[in-house]
Amino acid sequence: MDTTVVILFLAIVLLTLVITFFAAKQTKSTGDFYTAGGGLTGWQNGLAIAGDYLSAASFLGIAGAIALNGFDGFFYSIGFLIAYLVVLFLVAEPLRNLGKYTLADMINSRFDKKKIRGAAALSTITIVLFYMIAQLVGAGALIQLLFEIDYWIAVLIVGVMMTIYVLFGGMIATSWVQITKAVLLMAGMVIISFLVLMKFNFNISAMFTEVKTATSHGADYLKPGLKYDDGLGTISLMIALVLGTSGLPHILMRFFTVKDARTARSSVITATWTIGIFYILTLFLGFGAAIFVGESQILGANPGGNMAAPLLAEAIGGNILFAFISAVAFATILAVVAGLVLSGASAFAHDIYGQIIKKGNVTDREQMLAARYAALAVSVVSILLALGAQNLNVAFLVSLAFCIAASANLPVILYTVYWKRFNSQGAIMAILFGLISALVLVSISPSVFSPVEGAALFVGNPIFPLENPAIVSVPLGFLGGYLGTIFSKENDLKRYAEVKVKANTGYRKSS
């Protein structure tokens, strides 16, 4: 391992620990623990949202996907970005106005049913667990490559760090780790893109011309269809990206860390600009890697293309830039998994323990203790699962997480806020239909079954043809909510009037 890499790596670890130390002093109540007391400003929360979203999968994954697949890699950038319009126009403000800590809080503002809270907590926990295992396995493999250490040590380092942040510093520490990382990551992206563009005298057209001959795909590299040649599959992926983002629990949780819907809105704007610029820059990273690193070297380092960005940094900026980008990648992984632990813990401790088992009769002290135990439990379980999953192909877990978020969470959010006739039967059915259809369809899809050994989890022929079943499972989530509603007579118009007024005006008891 290189000395510069070690120094920067330790600097990141130290910096995050200092942040956690100060955050721990400020974490005095349950509200502080889950939502930083709602005390983040718009731009702080915006950077933290950007940080939550710009995971290692975005940073390393998309750069690699563009480097290897040209335009088709860029589909991800566009899908993630447009998702923010869905969040801004339809989700952010009602969610902030109705909820307290979790998605279940928001749905329960309309229906006081334990079953619904349980169902919402179940979908949150499922998404968090799958997404987390995928992140941890990816992180382990990546850190193994970057720092030349064993997989299990890599997973343990990441696991222990994320546990420390969350356990001691709660949302305050997680947010500031996220903000720090977002700034470092943007700096890294800008530096690399600048260096790439400089090689072409800042002539973007020249870069396009150069990349046309740089890969084995020739002119096809710049055309769509290199990887996603099936229309339905592409559209289904785009549905999962655009609707899944707006249903991911660690993203939703970010709207409770600000004091009101106005601040939530301004944070989405900061996030949208940051993320938009970031995703444009992924293009320069991808093209740069294709030109200056080359396909065979990228594939040689990692078949998924995850090493494209660090290798490009090395090729154009030398050892120091490589060390910097590696350290940023490490920080990225830490921050995202910490956010996931926190959203999983809130579903366990707040929804299941606090509201369902204890019926809300818990003191603040008990709640915070429960939250810390839950955070510890979520961390330990996911570390153990990640250690066991080293040799599995876990790529399907990410598409699963997005599919569940799009199919189980988004329909119920939209119905709760916008549909007058909606009732509790409908809410349960929307969540369960979406959750179960996403789970079943992914488990019989090409992401899980492939005739080629090692290409997926199991060898065999997939029954369902699409890797991403969102095109079927999202409509099923909406259908479940519709059928559940119309087959039950229940309909509380008085309660809906209250929800509608509160969701739209931001009126709260304390205001």
Binding site: V86, Y228, K509
Partner: protein, 116 residues
Amino acid sequence: MNGEHERIEEHREDEIDFVEVEKSSQFKSFMEGKRKFIIPMSIFFLVFYFLLPLFTSYTTFLNTPVFGDITWVWVFAFAQFVMVWVLSTIYVKRAASFDDEADQIIEDQIKQGGNS
């Protein structure tokens, strides 16, 4: 101390008739304004977004060059970014006026218990 405070607030909330607030012409015109803005905008950006995979999957006209080796598909992709920035700016502008209306409703309707 905090608990007691909340109980008092809850008691007051019981007296608010949200059905009346919802039926008021002030709230109705507020919602109408929001609906007229949010629904067309949302349909627009979703259609604009899904046109990209539809065109790339079922047509080839986006592969025509615009400038050097940059084809229409790249222009369309960048247009998505521009759309996001433009729409989010418009949203913030509009939302500021919605905020004023919302504050007015809280003042005129909710704080009067919905009976005004």
